[in-house]
Symmetry: C2
Subunit: 246 residues, 2 copies
DNA sequence: GAGTGGTCTAGACCACGGC
DNA sequence: CCGTGGTCTAGACCACTCT
């Protein structure tokens, strides 16, 4: 199905990227563009809303919208899995499971995954690579109901998110991420080829299905220089993307 | 002016926080709520859109919306300054300028701030505190046109963002943040009271006015344990908030 | 098949910016 | 003051979920 507002958003995205509307310049008014595209003002506002949430444009009541950034953007609003994100940036994602075992959920884990204490969970230690270089180490805990599907995946599975959807129709659509810095432990140092005690970016995240059921909770440690997290925010909206360093 | 959709969003936020709609439960349909609040479906969808961008609820075509989180949320979509954010969390923000000097912009700085190479910029080294404890060290470069206003601020100015607006009508409304981890240097270690080489969360950011003019670019280094960055994201939208550690 | 959210229309009025 | 974006309405059709 054709979504007019997505189509228009993409056209504007391209125009901004190509320099038709440079940073700081004003965009045509809603009415002008609505007329030009043969749609109602509502549909056009939907397209503008997308670009706004992507941080490409800003708006103030009474004045025309202005261009804030021309970054090519790809698919901003998407929650990208590591593999999807890597490929979008032209890099080759890889992964390898180092350890995988079932255990009983601790009280904290049960609370985070909405399980009963003592329920089964699956611990997975996985290293992720970019173009063959180790980039991050994941310590993931999957809820028991998803464990079987995860265990069926090959050890070098490239995209867990994708595979879990393809194989078991488990869609991970929402996430909460906590970012801070931490010193590399012994395991971190060995698997990421850094010195013990060197700085790592830690992301603790919980991912849920569209109806809010937690699938996994994870402690991911990123090697500096391999990945940079980028956040664009404004008074109106705040998307997050992962990027490679400049 | 009364914004119906904001009012309704707030009512729903409260209902979710109070447990009327627990995590994982379904919300009433758009038509039901529109009727109940005496508004059109469009207005109601606007309210739902706000909650969605706050990560509180999720939606799938064909099924009712579900509650993803009950976190009280405060003002998610706002881009909060350090001081505003700290106060919202019930903590006392502080700040102290350690060094301030004018210089000529390097080529990189000129590009980032949209200045001509050789234009004047203002370098400021500032330590920020939470409840009196050093939490981060800021190395900020202000564009020349904003320098005079910044220099007029007291050394212990609590909120630079607020003061710049009050004093010079400079509104910092958009920002781009790059997050990674870095080892503490000599200055970092001294001012943040950590060991040299210990991990810090680095945020490199550029802030602009609503029309896209860059005001400042900064290298901020956060002491671990003082601040955690939290990102909620979904297929639909991605807000960012800073939080204190759990 | 009934109900739901996603899209779209063609109007209207208001608050704000800038001339 | 006019043009702009922000809000709101009352309809309509479609894609999808669930039973």
């Amino acid at each position: 199905m054709i979504r007019r507002h997505q189509q228009i958003a993409e056209e504007l995205r391209v125009a901004i990227a190509e320099g038709t509307y440079p940073v700081g310049s004003e965009l045509p008014s809603e009415s002008e563009l609505a007329l030009a595209h043969g749609v109602s003002r509502g549909t056009l506002r939907q397209a503008f809303g997308t670009l706004q949430s992507e941080g490409l444009i800003g708006s103030r009541q009474g004045a025309r919208r202005t261009v804030l950034s021309t970054t090519p953007s790809q698919s901003f609003t998407e929650l990208r899995s590591f593999a999807q994100w890597a490929r979008a940036g032209g890099r080759t994602p890889g992964g390898l499971v180092l350890r995988s075992r079932r255990a009983k959920a601790t009280e904290a884990q049960a609370a985070q995954l909405h399980l009963a204490p003592g329920d089964t969970v699956l611990h997975v230690l996985r290293v992720r690579t970019l173009d063959g270089e180790p980039a991050l180490l994941e310590r993931t805990v999957y809820a028991g109901w998803a464990a079987a599907a995860v265990e069926r995946l090959p050890d070098d599975c490239e995209s867990v998110t994708q595979s879990l959807y393809d194989e078991a129709r488990v869609l991970m659509s929402h996430g909460e991420h906590h970012l801070d810095a931490i010193a590399a432990g012994t395991t971190d140092a060995r698997e990421l080829a850094v010195r013990r005690g060197s700085p790592l970016l830690r992301v603790r995240r919980t991912t849920t299905t569209p109806d809010g059921r937690p699938v996994e909770t994870s402690d991911d440690r990123y090697k500096p220089g391999s990945v940079v997290f980028t956040v664009r925010n404004s008074v109106q909206a705040n998307p997050l993307v992962r990027t490679t360093p400049d």
